[in-house]
Amino acid sequence: SGCAGTQASNSNNDKNTIKVGVLHSLSGTMAISEVSVKDAEMMAIDEINAKGGVLGKKIEVVTEDGASDPAVFAEKAKKLLQQDKVATVFGCWTSASRKAVLPVFENNHGLLWYPVQYEGMESSPNIFYTGAAPNQQIVPAVDWLLKNKGKKFFLIGSDYVFPRTANKIIKAELKAKGGTLVGEEYTPMGHTDYSTIINKIKNEKPDVVFNTLNGDSNVAFFKQLKDAGINTKDLITCSVSIAEEEVRGIGAGNMAGQLVSWNYYQTTDTPENKTFVKNYKAKYGQDRVTDDPIEAAYDAVYLWAAAVEKAGSTDVDKVKAAAKGLEFNAPEGKVKIEGENQHLWKTVRIGEVQADGSIKEVWSTPGPVRPDPYLKTYDWAKGLAN
């Protein structure tokens, strides 16, 4: 068989390095998004190594390709934990890949840092979530839209768990807050023709299209929306899976004036962000952009490093204990690990896409919002998370 070598000789403690895993799709459809996230993680690791590493040891990276396939993610996660015995893993993007590796991390007592906003309803003891929970992105966005843009919502999303769950939350919220739902459509991943759906949207005349499409589909949707002669005055879209990187692919011209909701933009005005953006561009090219998942992935590495320093060990239990309440001055501002569910406190920002592709913040919460993956603190969300 092809699997040579018996026991990859390693153990984190007796060497001068600490092994960590980086597990993203470097091939397949998800590579579009995940490669940049991997780059951000590598940058953070390089920075930390340049400053002497953690616990005086250099961080050694084992990269694996999840190949956009959940089963491969599971295999590679097992490999990282059982074979390489890494101290922690930074990885995944889609919820499917996260769900696939979750039991692996739980069974092998590993640690995963997951950097992407997601649908919530989850809080594994072996995962730290550095992206937004629904109450840090979707819920405030809907709130704001209802107040500022209108009551008639049309929901469009890719057919998978994040959009479906997100829309369930939105529908509950609309119902509670007096909004109306005029349409809900899902398209398979990679779908490229939106003429029919746009026709349906035109026919329903909603005030807001809440968009949870993923990846390539967004490009098609926005190009075709513009061609159909719909402009942002008649109808505004708000997207939660489109960040600066995606805007570049869609073409800023096709999206100018549309809204997005995130915790971080390249334009976010903090001193940390200025250096972050500068370093990222210096490392990967001036034409590259930073965005929310990239920043969240970068934060994840620093948070882990800080927790390890604090714990004085890479032992998962000790790191977890140390991570509780840990704060970090991230490019997006101050973030803090919520001990109860291992999510981050994050500031919510609604932004408007500009003609040059940057995103201008139009509204933000006054400070970091407490993560609430199960929406326990929202009355209208009762029954969503049973």
Binding site: S1, L102, P188
Partner: protein, 360 residues
């Protein structure tokens, strides 16, 4: 008779050697590698089934991922209910279901594991009956089977509340009460996989060694001529399709507990094509080639992607190209060719056998 025949063929010797090495593998490999090898064995089983239908009968199904998936889902549903301990599986509740759907109900019973074979076989029977009766052949069948796989992927993704959507079924805990996380269970599953590999190989070897095997090849060469020899190829094709689908189902069921997840991504067009490639690389129409191809390609894929995560696709792609172009008969064909060069005495022996047709 059969045993005698079995021992005569070099392919069977090779198979025996493979089985012995697989049995001995736990002495040398870590439990992670064994677990991985278990997955490859499930692929090998699948590949044998594909070789039966493609290598021997000439029907190229580009939708075998569906049968693999159905078997895997049947197993997954059983494991999921075992993990749920009588409660509603996690994904159902976050998808808004309140009661266990009727199609799930039977899966709390171990007898339901028969569905691993029954469901793929039934689907194959229906599809096979329709298409083969209507004489849909060649590339038309291939494309049709591709459409089938697309339909199932879209359906399984769309019915999130019933199937787990893109996430598929995951987070299993135990199998027949044994913890899936335990090393012992992994060894048990591994040996069970080998057992099924032996069973499936023997079944297929039995088929191709009997007259039906020759009829299948005849169908591959000229289906209409078979008709004018008095056989109804439709029946034979349906039979092979069902066999192959059931084998794929078994493979899927073996895959699930070892990998810990089944999702629509495993039943789509891309994996379906890759399955065929394993067989091509090993050498079609030999059964043993399918086993070698599946284990080798997947081993290589895992190995190379670990060493070169950023560029392993190049290796994989180039391997496919080189093998198909320069080894049209696959690895087994290559070995055969060189073996016949090296051992001319072998030909003499063959001639002696030829003189005595009673062996057949």
């Amino acid at each position: 008779m059969f045993v005698k025949k079995f021992i005569k063929a070099p392919a069977n010797w090779t198979f025996l050697i493979i089985i012995l090495s697989l049995l001995a593998a736990p002495l040398f490999l870590s439990v992670f590698r064994i677990n991985l090898l278990g997955k490859f064995i499930s692929y090998a089983i699948l590949a044998i089934g594909i070789d039966l239908i493609w290598g021997y009968t000439g029907i190229l199904s580009l939708g075998h991922g569906v049968f693999f998936g159905l078997g895997a889902y049947a197993m997954g549903m059983y494991l999921k209910l075992e993990a749920a301990h009588g409660k509603l599986p996690d994904f159902m509740s976050w998808s808004g279901l309140e009661h266990l759907p009727a199609i799930w109900a039977p899966f709390s019973n171990p007898l339901s594991l028969l569905f691993i074979i029954i469901i793929p076989a039934l689907l194959a029977a229906v599809i096979g009956y329709l298409t083969f009766k209507n004489r849909i052949r060649g590339v038309y069948f291939s494309i049709l089977s591709q459409a089938l796989s697309l339909i199932f992927v879209v359906l399984f993704i769309g019915q999130q509340a019933y199937t787990g959507g893109t996430n598929g079924l995951t987070s299993f805990q135990t199998i027949f009460g044994l913890s899936l996380a335990a090393d012992n269970t992994k060894y048990i599953l591994y040996y069970a996989s080998i057992l099924f590999l032996i069973l499936v190989y023997t079944y297929c070897r039995f088929i191709v060694n009997h007259r039906i095997g020759k009829i299948l090849i005849a169908i591959r060469d000229g289906e209409n001529r078979v008709r004018f020899s008095g056989y109804n190829p439709t029946i034979y094709k349906i039979f092979v399709y069902i066999s192959s689908a059931a084998i794929a189902g078994i493979a899927g069921a073996i895959f699930v507990p070892q990998v810990g997840i089944i999702s629509p991504a495993e039943m789509g067009i891309v994996p379906s094509i890759e399955m065929v490639i394993w067989v091509a690389i090993g050498g079609r129409g030999t059964l043993i080639g399918a086993v070698i191809g599946a284990i080798l390609v997947n081993g290589l894929k895992s190995g190379i992607s670990e060493s070169f995560p950023e560029i392993w696709s190049y290796f994989l792609g180039l391997t496919f190209i080189v093998v198909v172009i320069f080894m049209p008969e696959g690895l087994v064909g290559l070995v055969k060719k060189y073996a016949s060069h090296l051992f001319t005495w072998h030909n003499k022996k063959e001639k002696i056998i030829q003189k005595a047709p009673s062996i057949n």
